[in-house]
């Protein structure tokens, strides 16, 4: 009975999660669709404007004098000619330099200089000829189109101005039309999404009720207000060694929480217990997810922890070296992909849509961290500071609520560390996340953390604001040694 109840509970909660995913996905795609419409509008409008300008070109030509127009166009042609010509001249100089270096007698040197000068002269001649040719062809081409005298020019200029104003009007009308179309598209799509969302949310709620009905272990634990993560008497034992011993603390929403301690104090073990890489021997890890439900993380599987909104980085950079930076971010967003294996075999529109959306998101994150120029680079051989930044970028990919950083400043120089401190604060404020970090760099920790917890040999020494920690005698003893 107990097993079947648990199975049913798992089944319904999985279903509920799926519906929730669909719901969020629909809303997210709706937002993306609106952005996409904006881009499309700009593209169509630019195309239209280009067409209008093409139409206007003959009218404009008829309103200018032949001489001035030819001058402008010839100058343009000559500019592109000179771009090539400069290489010919460079090659000429190079042959002269090489020849002079080889030549031994004066007569040889003279010959080479002569050759150089004749080549230079011929190049000048060539340029002149080109200018003549281009001038002739352009003036013959424009002769029939351009204005004959100033009187005609004045008349045509007035015509041109009228045409310009008309075209401007047309452009504006087109813009309006496109805008209306865009709004209509967005509205239609909104209705579609609303229908989808209401359907999914209904299903979600009913399945959630079902799941609750069969839930065997009710999490009665209520967290205090504003607490995201709470450890209760956490103990982790490896054989005879207690790496973490009866540790309890709370992490509040929106704060930067630092965990410090001497080497081997068990900081990383605490991390691994929270992200379920290790199953704690004793004690509970409670976590409040975005719906306000309190979860017992001990029951979650390692690869499901990220779906609850907890993302972690690693002490030594663990990127996928065979993928580009952008694709690395896509891997990090793996839990956002909902398409199944069949979609991926065939590359159905569903997968393409998802891929497009998540790619746009990844580009946005890269832009936020100033790494856009590296999007197609492979991470092999990039500087360590940038690799750390890419790791940070990865955590932002999957709608995090709690980011766990394992020694983010390890291996960075002072300037990079300062930049990182600013960045972490910026991320906390803009993404509205909680940040939980382990760090050896005391400067960084004291600088950015709101609350610090100091542990030694798995036991808590003190918890409080940076100033309190600095004054605490137990912490001083652990770091500097007792008498």
């Amino acid at each position: 009975m107990g097993i079947s109840k648990k199975l049913l509970h798992n089944f319904y909660s999985n279903r509920a999660e799926n519906f929730k995913d669909n719901l969020d996905g629909a809303i997210e795609y709706n937002e993306f669709y609106q952005e996409k419409q904006e881009v499309l509008l700009k593209k169509h409008y630019d195309k239209f404007v280009a067409q209008e300008q093409e139409k206007l070109e003959p009218i404009r030509l008829s309103s200018v004098l032949l001489k001035s127009e030819v001058k402008i166009q010839v100058a343009e042609k000559l500019k592109s000619y000179d771009e090539k010509d400069i290489w010919r001249r460079k090659a000429n100089t190079q042959t002269q330099v090489r020849g002079l270096a080889k030549a031994t007698t004066d007569s040889d040197k003279q010959k080479i200089t002569e050759a150089y000068e004749t080549q230079l002269r011929s190049l000048d001649k060539r340029r002149e000829e080109y200018e003549h040719k281009v001038t002739a062809s352009i003036s013959s081409k424009l002769q029939s189109v351009c204005a004959k005298d100033e009187k005609e020019q004045k008349e045509n200029l007035a015509k041109y101005e009228v045409a310009l104003a008309e075209s401007d009007k047309r452009c504006k009308a087109e813009h309006q039309k496109l805008e209306v179309q865009k709004q209509a598209n967005i509205k239609a799509f909104q209705i579609k999404t609303d229908a989808k969302v209401s359907k999914a949310s209904k299903k979600y709620e009913t399945t959630l009720v079902d799941a609750k009905k069969y839930s065997a272990s009710k999490v009665d634990q209520k967290l205090e207000k504003n607490v995201v993560l709470s450890l209760h008497n956490l103990t982790m034992q490896f054989g005879g060694l207690k790496a973490v011993d009866n540790l309890s603390f709370d992490v509040k929403k929106g704060e930067i929480f630092g965990l410090i301690g001497p080497n081997g104090a068990g900081k990383t073990t605490v991390f691994n217990c929270i992200t379920q890489f290790y199953k704690p021997t004793k004690g509970e890890v409670y976590y409040e997810d975005k719906t306000g439900q309190v979860l017992l993380l001990n029951e979650a599987k390692v690869h499901n922890v990220i779906k609850k909104g907890i993302v972690r980085t690693f002490q030594n950079v663990e990127l996928v070296w065979e993928l580009t930076v952008l694709e690395n971010l896509l891997v990090a967003a793996h839990s956002l992909f909902k398409s199944n294996l069949f979609d991926q075999f065939i590359h159905t529109p569903k997968l393409k849509k998802e891929e497009e959306m998540i790619r746009a998101k990844a580009l946005k994150v890269l832009d936020y961290l100033g790494l856009t120029y590296l999007q197609n680079a492979y991470p092999v051989g990039l500087p360590y500071g940038i690799l750390k930044k890419i790791e940070l970028a990865r955590t932002l990919m999957c709608n995090p609520r709690l980011i766990i950083l394992d020694e983010p400043a390890a291996g960075l120089n002072d300037a990079e560390t300062q930049e990182l401190a600013v960045l972490i604060k910026k991320i906390r404020d803009e993404y509205k996340v909680t940040i939980f970090l382990v760090e050896h760099d005391m400067g960084l920790v004291m600088d950015i953390c709101d609350t610090i917890c100091a542990i030694s040999f798995g036991k808590m020494l003190a918890i409080g604001t940076p100033k309190q920690i600095q004054k605490d005698p137990a912490v001083q003893e652990a770091y500097l040694g007792g008498e």
Binding site: F277, E318, L323, H334, Q344, F345, L351, C398
Partner: protein
């Protein structure tokens, strides 16, 4: 207008799947040329068919080795499983061709899942040894079940109740031709599907898993799921290739499916480049194709039939030492070399 058509063709050619279509057309032309009398030797066409069939296996293997990072030496046993299952279902029980292939694929799914579960506990060389043992057990089962005789499959006579195209009771070679024309499109489809999978979240997840298990887990990738997927796909491809082998070559003994074939496929994938499908096909061409297609016409190789093994052995050593990415990297390296030469020449001609 003409320019826009050229642009469109360029865009189509840039699509990653277009190369497989072109390859498929070239392979179809091989048999057309044979019928037209341009290619004289039937052995040439058969070698190409062999390359195609083993390429299907190699593609699954590349997903397993290059993407999921799992080594297996049991491939040949699984191809043999396909061949002998066809022997059982098609020729002994008389089940129609398409249905018997489908039955084989379902069995392959189950077998692949079983091996996948084993792979969860064991890694690296030990996994290779375990799969080798499984393959040996399978081959031994073939010997017990079917004996040591060579088995011949009767020609395919019916296809969905109708007469198979090209079949005549006096037994022309046309059935094999039609089989070839079925084989090539299937090969192209499998290549396209695999390429799609490699360029989708699954492919990326497998690469992440190969680099670091714990990082993959932290990113929400279930290692169990993707290892199972990799093994199931590799197994299904191998068994499918076995079925096709049986329908094309129509004869087998248990000795065909020993360790040598597994090693050859491993060699083909490594020589070609374990992460590139076109590279795998090239590797299969070098290991399985060159011998029958070209070298058999040279008297020296006719007298020393095993000399090809020396060449392929040397090739593997060279590739592993100097080209860890496989021959697929050759093209990229050539491009880089040309760019460097151009730069040098520019420097020589124009100075700084």
């Amino acid at each position: 207008m003409g320019q826009s058509i050229a642009l469109r063709i360029k865009r189509v050619l840039k699509h990653p799947l277009s190369s497989f279509v072109i390859l498929g057309i070239v392979l179809l032309l091989v048999n057309v040329f044979y019928r037209a009398g341009i290619i004289q030797d039937i052995a040439f066409v058969r070698s190409v068919a062999r390359v195609i069939i083993y390429s299907i296996v190699a593609m699954g293997f590349s997903l397993l080795l290059g993407y999921a990072g799992l080594a297996s030496l049991g491939t040949s046993g699984l191809i043999g499983l396909g061949a002998f299952l066809i022997q059982l279902t098609y020729s002994q029980k008389g089940i129609p061709m398409v249905i018997s292939i489908l039955i084989c694929l379902v069995i392959a799914l189950v077998v692949g899942a079983l091996i996948g579960f084993i792979s969860l506990r064991i890694e690296g060389m030990y996994l290779a040894i375990i799969t080798l043992c499984l393959s040996t057990i399978l081959v031994e089962l073939f010997r017990i079940g079917w004996g040591t005789d060579t088995f011949n499959l009767p020609r395919v006579q019916t296809f969905f109740g109708k007469e198979f195209p090209g079949y005549s009771s006096d037994g022309g070679l046309l059935v094999r031709d039609v089989m070839y024309y079925i084989l090539v499109p299937l090969f192209v489809i499998v290549a396209m599907l695999t390429s799609n999978l490699m360029r989708s979240p699954t492919g990326r997840a497998m690469l992440a898993m190969k680099d670091s298990d714990s990082a993959a887990k932290a990113m929400g990738i279930s290692v169990l799921k993707y290892r199972l997927i990799a093994f199931i796909i590799a197994t299904v491809y191998a068994v499918f290739a076995g079925c096709l082998y049986m329908f094309y070559f129509r004869s087998t003994t248990y000795t065909d499916w020993g360790l040598a074939l597994s090693l050859n496929i491993l060699a083909a994938v490594i020589v070609g480049g374990s992460k590139s499908l076109l590279g795998c096909i090239l590797g299969c061409f070098i290991i399985f194709g060159i011998d029958g297609m070209f070298l058999q016409n040279i008297p020296f190789f006719q007298n020393n039939t095993n000399f090809i093994y020396i060449i392929s052995g040397a090739l593997i050593i060279i590739v592993v030492m100097f080209y860890p990415g496989g021959l697929a990297h050759l093209w990229l390296d050539l491009k880089i070399l040309i760019r460097k030469l151009k730069l040098k020449w520019r420097h020589y001609k124009y100075g700084d």
